[in-house]
Symmetry: C2
Subunit: 265 residues, 2 copies
């Protein structure tokens, strides 16, 4: 009897998103089905982030409670034999008392990938948004940095969003290029619904000259969605990692490492 | 009326391979269907390499003849509107007189990707072979270099192979690691059927200690398949580029660039 914590990777292409819903297959449902097969228990799992249809995860964090005495670190291997191959449990362990994957999250890193070339990519079609106009990644990087700090991100909230508190802190936001790939990496205390996709859409429009630099600063000061770009498509987005400790140095190190592995000097 | 040359990228996951065959969908068939829709001509395309089921290409080179007067450089855009999204024409141009995509090839670069972690990857499941045992990439790199040079690669020929001339020249062969990914990159004058997959399988077994170092040298001197490893699965393999000019410096530069973009110092 206890609470288990999982790190889950998934390809969101064939799912209606993280959260269970009627008439559509979600990642949560597949994970709960696998747990039922393994434990013969009706287990309800909670994820740190309710990712949308088409959005991927390399480090979704999940918790659930079980009566089973299976050693916590065995869940990864056991569940992977029950799961479809586009969902993989990368790690499992006992959660500390009262741990909550969603409410205890102190920060998250998201990645948004673009494929910047006149023609789309066959191999990267499900992981990168295709942008046919040449992108100025240096200009996008400069613009991206203006979201850093604590701001009221009301302008970045999707229409119909119900969030009352729209203040968030962005610790780091960078854009880099490697060949035909352009990456947006953003680390924040939390994100409003569609916030990273609106940020990506805005940076793409700035990067190809369809929107003037300074759009983000204007939106943050005016709190209006109007000066921002369109919402970028979901399949470019990946939840990279969720942080639970107030360890700024560790999180900054992870961020730098992800950026560094991607972009060559 | 003329000969057109295409550079084609494809995700081989959903195809029976490059070559047209009964009762299965091939990349060649999809490309010929797209050309028929565009030109209303029965066009037969020829590819540089007849990649197997599940094998990918970033730079398959293709030629075909047509009576159409469409400007050669327009084919890429026009065909991409007709093709499924897991096949993309990345470039098109007029071929020089008598150009033959297969017989004129002077060299090819192949890449074989491994995901080295106790658990498989969801996002890389169709592009990387999963290897759960820790791989010593430095040891694999050392072993890989022993295929460089001109050798009789009879030991690397798949059983049932009909190739009479089994002598090939390997210009460069390297293994590198970046995090959980391990890459084999090989540039040669040509390759026997399954040769890169037998090479990858052998290097994997050397890298996890199941086969002693020197296996490749022993196989090359004894010309026996027995001292080599099993054939690695097709989905890790990608045809990166086909060379038609005897420009060793340009090819070496491309190879170094691919290696460099992957592996961090």
């Amino acid at each position: 009897m206890g609470r288990i914590r999982l790190t889950v990777e998934y390809d969101g292409t064939n799912y209606s998103g993280w959260q269970r819903q009627e008439n559509a297959v979600s990642v949560q449902q597949r994970l709960e089905e696998a747990l039922y097969k393994l434990l013969r228990e009706d287990v309800r799992v909670t994820g740190a982030s309710r990712t949308d249809a088409g959005v991927h995860a390399l480090g979704q964090t999940v918790h659930f409670d079980t009566k089973s005495r299976i050693p916590p670190e065995k869940y990864a291997f056991a569940l992977n034999t029950m799961l479809p191959d586009d969902i993989r449990v990368r790690a499992s362990r006992a959660a500390v008392d009262g741990f909550h994957a969603r409410f205890d999250a102190k920060g998250k890193i998201y990645r948004y990938m673009m494929f910047n070339s006149p023609h789309a990519s066959a191999l990267l079609r499900n992981s990168h948004a295709h942008v046919m106009y040449p992108l100025d990644a240096a200009l996008m990087d400069e613009e991206a940095r203006s979201v850093e700090g604590t701001h009221d991100f009301k302008a970045f909230a999707a229409s119909g969003s119900v969030a009352k508190d729209t203040v968030r802190t962005i610790y780091a936001c960078r854009v880099a290029r490697s060949g035909e790939e352009v990456m947006l990496l953003v680390h924040g205390s939390g994100f409003l619904y569609n916030m990273v996709r609106i940020l990506a859409g805005t940076l793409i429009q700035v990067g190809c000259g369809k929107l003037e630099s300074g759009a983000i600063e204007r939106a943050l000061s005016g709190k209006s969605r109007l000066s921002l770009g369109v919402t970028a498509p979901p399949h470019g987005l990946t939840l990279m990692r969720v942080f639970y400790e107030d360890d700024a140095a560790e999180a900054a190190g992870r961020f730098a490492d992800m950026l560094d592995r991607f972009a060559r000097p």
